[in-house]
């Protein structure tokens, strides 16, 4: 798996569209989720995700291959910058209380779905209330299931500091949700 990814990354760096296409298929949902949970707006998340991959493809030669984790790290880095730029140039236009249902959530039973939707909505409201680094850690650790070591590498912090941030972020989330 990692070898295959490495091969795709090398070919993409050499300018092979099909290989970048495969990387897009693999990483696009991860990047989309990351951005969507930060901006809480479907169209804006789509637009920013598109910009992230366009920018990655056009500047692929700038990526220095190390290992598979570093490619997603690079994409996360571009995503964070795009989100920051987005908020710099445009104030959020959506009231967080009026966010629509999350897109493309797997269907459950109707009763479960209702309960699920309410909980999702509550957590979705809460995530943007965390600071940027806390949002990143919560998304990477508990939604994308990355190990503290991987998150530390991506965010260029120590593992200890990631554990501290995740502890603080979860407590904050619990406090917000219990209010």
């Amino acid at each position: 798996m990692i070898e295959e990814q490495q091969k795709l990354i090398k070919e993409a760096i050499a300018g092979k569209p099909a290989s970048f296409g495969s990387l897009y298929d693999h990483y696009q949902p991860i990047v989309y989720r990351f951005i969507y949970l930060k901006v809480s707006h479907k169209e804006e998340a789509e637009d920013l995700t598109h910009q992230v991959f366009l920018s990655a493809w056009l500047n692929i030669s700038e990526f220095k291959i190390k290992k598979e984790a570093s490619f997603i790290g690079w994409l996360y880095q571009i995503s964070r910058n795009k989100v920051i730029d987005h908020y710099r140039t445009k104030k959020p236009t959506v009231d967080i209380d009026n966010i629509a249902d999350p897109p493309e959530i797997e269907k459950k039973s109707s009763e479960e779905t209702e309960d699920f939707k309410i909980k999702i909505k509550m957590v979705k409201r809460a995530i943007p209330l965390l600071n940027e680094i806390e949002q990143d850690v919560v998304i990477m650790r508990f939604i994308e299931d990355l190990k503290p070591k991987e998150v530390a590498e991506i965010l260029k912090k120590s593992e200890g500091s990631i554990r501290l941030i995740q502890h603080r972020a979860i407590n904050k989330l619990k406090n917000i949700l219990n209010k």
């Binding site: 760096i13 300018g15 696009q28 789509e46 508990f142």
Partner: protein, 164 residues
């Protein structure tokens, strides 16, 4: 309420499939900057490259004409415009793929070069036929699309021929 369970459920958030497809097409139809030092002209016959470039530019111009022609027709032709757009993006991606293959001579099947040249001639012929269609007042958009699709198929074949 277990916060970790809810967070895990958020992994089910997925982008819209149609959006993802369109975005992919648009991105891959762009040409990235690469560090390649070896140029095709150093290795292959200049005419081959020249013909590929000519065919590519003819196709781009032609597709633009088709899209414009469809837009001016009465009635709802949105689906045809969308189809033409999609084929256009797909051809651009194939041209980028072929461009990549040509810049990586070690990955090319040199024996197939004469067949590739033949297919380029077929593409050029298709374009000439399409231009004749364009001069005809009784424009048949479906016929245009057939020609572009045929060119698209030929590009796919070229791509496969070049792979070792």
């Amino acid at each position: 309420m277990n916060i970790f369970e809810i967070l895990k459920e958020l992994k089910n958030i997925k982008p819209d499939q149609e959006y993802a497809k369109q975005s992919r097409y648009l991105i891959l139809s762009q040409t990235p900057q690469t560090d390649k030092k070896i140029t095709v002209a150093e290795i292959f016959d200049w005419i081959f490259i020249h013909r590929l470039a000519t065919a590519a530019s003819l196709i781009s111009v032609f597709i633009l004409l088709v899209i414009l022609s469809i837009s001016y027709l009465p009635g709802n032709k949105n689906s045809l415009v969308a189809e033409a757009d999609e084929i256009n993006a797909s051809i651009q991606i194939k041209l980028n793929d072929i461009g990549y293959q040509l810049q990586n001579p070690t990955e090319i099947n040199i024996e197939e070069i004469p067949n590739v040249q033949k297919k380029l001639e077929e593409i050029t012929k298709l374009m000439e036929e399409a231009q004749t269609l364009n001069e005809n007042k009784d424009k048949k958009i479906e016929e245009y699309l057939k020609k572009i699709k045929a060119a698209q198929t030929l590009f796919t074949e070229i791509e496969s021929l070049l792979v070792k």
